[in-house]
């Protein structure tokens, strides 16, 4: 929904002109090639979504709005949504601030350096999320390495509360999702011709002007792609907040799982998922109205 919209050739109705046998054969071939993908999307995505939507309107006695009424009556729902979006926003922003310089250095370096830098970004990615969540727990707990180091250095008197709260959740989520920011950024930066910066400098632009007015705008497609990925993935993150939140973070994903595991309330879980989906859609619709993606991408 953030991709540049290209004019889609309107499918000609049967009335406008008759297809030649070659065109018919081509269309049949395209349809045949798309069938497996359409089938997968239909069975695994569209159908469950419809089923989920239907289920969210089912009360004990048939059709009911009771699951949605809970959003207005139960304050846990609202606070959970607010916390989830707050964490997603902070994680996305932090990933961008940390990921941009990494991707920049990787895109600018030569020889063996790009694979080394990207490798360092990717290696943790191949480790299980569960393992990394526990690793953060060990690092950040009351008597963990970070706290003891800070205490030994005399920087703090009492251990900081680094985990079992929103900070720990944010930290670990950021660590796990950082590659999703770095890789699209790197791909976008690699597409920027080096001669554009050379040209900018030759025309009198100092390093900051060249970066701000040439490099940064041309890397925005990567910024947008990476931010969308990280934001959306954080919204649905489950294991990490569950392990590192210590009950103080109660994200939407956990709300869904509680409804099913504890109360076996599939209708309530479905309604939460539907609302989350709609809110995400609304955010991106709003973003695409506010940010001129097409101009940024240079397609206009």
């Amino acid at each position: 929904m953030v991709r540049p919209r290209r004019p889609v050739p309107a499918a000609d109705g049967p009335m406008t002109h008759t297809l030649t046998p070659e065109e018919r054969r081509e269309r049949r071939l395209i349809l045949a090639l798309l069938t497996p993908a359409l089938a997968v999307v239909g069975v695994l995505l569209i159908a469950p979504l419809i089923w989920m939507g239907w289920q969210s309107f089912q009360g004990p006695d048939g059709f009911s709005l009771m699951h949605y009424q809970r959003f207005l009556t139960d304050s846990v729902y609202l606070s959970s949504f607010i916390q989830t979006f707050r964490i997603a926003f902070v994680v996305t922003l932090a990933a961008l601030l940390i990921g941009y310089p990494i991707a920049y250095v990787a895109a600018k370096s030569e020889g063996i350096w790009p694979p080394i830098i990207l490798g360092m970004v990717l290696v943790p990615f191949w480790t299980s999320v569960l393992v990394r969540a526990y690793a953060w727990l060990i690092l950040l707990q009351r008597r963990g390495i970070v706290n003891s180091a800070l205490q030994d250095l005399g920087l703090i008197d009492r251990p900081l509360l680094l985990v079992n709260n929103e900070f720990g959740t944010t930290m670990a989520t950021l660590h796990i999702l950082l590659p999703f920011m770095v890789l699209p950024l790197y791909a976008a930066m690699k597409k920027i011709p080096a001669e554009l910066e050379t040209a900018g400098a030759s025309l009198g632009g100092n390093g900051w002007l060249v970066f701000r007015s040439i490099y940064l705008p041309l890397s925005l497609p990567g910024v947008i792609a990476g931010s969308v990925l990280v934001f959306v993935l954080t919204l649905g993150f489950y294991i990490t907040p569950e392990l590192l939140g210590g009950g103080r973070t109660f994200l939407v994903s956990m709300l869904v799982s509680r409804n099913i595991e504890l109360y076996n309330e599939w209708g309530a879980a479905s309604s939460i998922s539907v609302v989350l989906l709609l809110v995400v859609f609304a955010i991106f619709r709003l973003a695409s109205m506010l940010i001129p993606f097409e101009r940024i991408m240079g397609t206009k």
């Binding site: 001669e195 400098a201 025309l203 009198g204 632009g205 002007l209 240079g298």
Partner: protein
């Protein structure tokens, strides 16, 4: 951009420039003086060091040793954005996310010129390259030739002391390239700026330049006017690189006489001493011997091996009696067809002593 006075005219002095990449000498002791207002081309095959030399002038490559002066200013170690040199890049390097106007005014923005002055300057620059009214277009909507002009306007708008052009026409098709060559030449006359033009196209260099610097293996081989370079090449490399020259091995008899396959030929130019000498034969210097041939001309008997019709002319390949192959052209007009030889026919070619140029293998 006033044609009557050129306050920005400035010469370039390159002294003993060396650029080494590891053990590879990209530039090997290059010294070159470019006069204020001159159009100088740097011509050479790929890998000859011309791009390195351009990088040195633009400030993107740091010399291992040597110095570069722009007028009286030493710019050897000056960063690119302070040099005040306009550069037109091979692929134009236009900023794709900016409009034509934003591209062209970028140098004004970089120099913090008052915004009130921009519109007038932009208009003048657009008019100069005949793109008035294009300021709000996007780069993607321009043709190759128009992009070329935008790049040119962008490099000129801040009235740089020196303009560098790196094969700016190589991406255009032949017809447009030839039009642009003449336009660039006109523009140079109008602006009066010093222009250094890098190309590997000898015809382009001959068409546009006041002087041409020929490079090979990181060294300057010869720096001369197009005509001198073409008619009096310094060595076999220059001779083979410029024009349609055939190089025939010859021996020196004395300062004015050489022998080609045992046959003595006269030259109006001093023949260099030494071995490994070559006679430079340009196809346009050869004629079929006839009543109008000058009496002092060297005569070269041979046999026509083939003729190729090429539209405006017919190229005739002749095997000389000594076994060397040469070619000449006859115009495809009435008088040309009158004397057109056939394949297998014995002919005598004439080469005037003024056009009989002997060059050494290397300078």
């Amino acid at each position: 951009m006033d044609a009557s006075s050129h306050p920005h005219q400035v010469g370039v002095t390159i002294r003993n420039a060396v650029k080494r990449y590891g053990s590879f000498n990209a530039l090997n002791d290059v010294s070159l003086d470019v006069a204020p207002g001159e159009f100088l081309s740097i011509l050479g095959p790929s890998g000859s060091g011309k791009t390195t030399l351009l990088g040195l002038l633009g400030g993107f490559v740091q010399p291992t040793s040597g110095s570069i002066h722009l007028g009286a200013t030493d710019i050897t170690h000056m960063p690119p954005h302070k040099r005040d040199i306009g550069i037109v890049f091979q692929n134009y390097a236009l900023f794709p996310h900016m409009t034509v106007g934003q591209n062209i005014t970028f140098p004004l923005r970089a120099r913090h010129m008052p915004k009130a002055d921009w519109p007038a300057r932009l208009e003048a620059a657009l008019a100069m390259v005949e793109l008035s009214g294009y300021a709000d277009r996007s780069i993607a909507a321009l043709s190759g030739g128009q992009r070329q002009r935008v790049a040119l306007a962008r490099a000129m708008i801040f009235e740089p002391r020196l303009i560098l052009m790196d094969e700016p026409l190589s991406a255009l098709d032949k017809q447009l390239r030839e039009t642009m060559q003449l336009e660039l030449k006109d523009l140079h006359a109008k602006l009066g700026a010093t222009i250094i033009y890098v190309t590997h196209d000898q015809r382009e260099a001959l068409t546009m330049s006041d002087r041409i610097a020929v490079m090979k293996d990181g060294k300057l081989v010869q720096v001369d006017s197009p005509r001198t370079l073409h008619d009096r090449p310094a060595n076999a490399f220059v001779a083979s690189f410029i024009g349609e020259a055939m190089l025939l091995p010859v021996a020196r008899q004395d300062a004015g006489i050489l022998t080609l396959s045992g046959k003595a030929l006269r030259s109006a130019h001093a023949i260099p001493a030494g071995k490994d000498l070559f006679l430079t034969v340009h196809s346009e210097k050869l004629t079929l011997a006839g009543p109008s041939t000058a009496p002092e001309a060297n005569l070269l008997p041979g046999t026509v091996s083939s003729t190729v019709y090429q539209g405006e002319s017919v190229r005739i390949f002749v095997t000389l009696d000594g076994g060397h192959a040469v070619s000449l052209r006859l115009p495809s007009n009435h008088s040309g067809w009158q004397i057109m030889p056939e394949r297998g026919q014995a002919v005598t070619l004439a080469l005037h002593p003024d056009d009989t140029i002997v060059v050494p293998q290397a300078a």
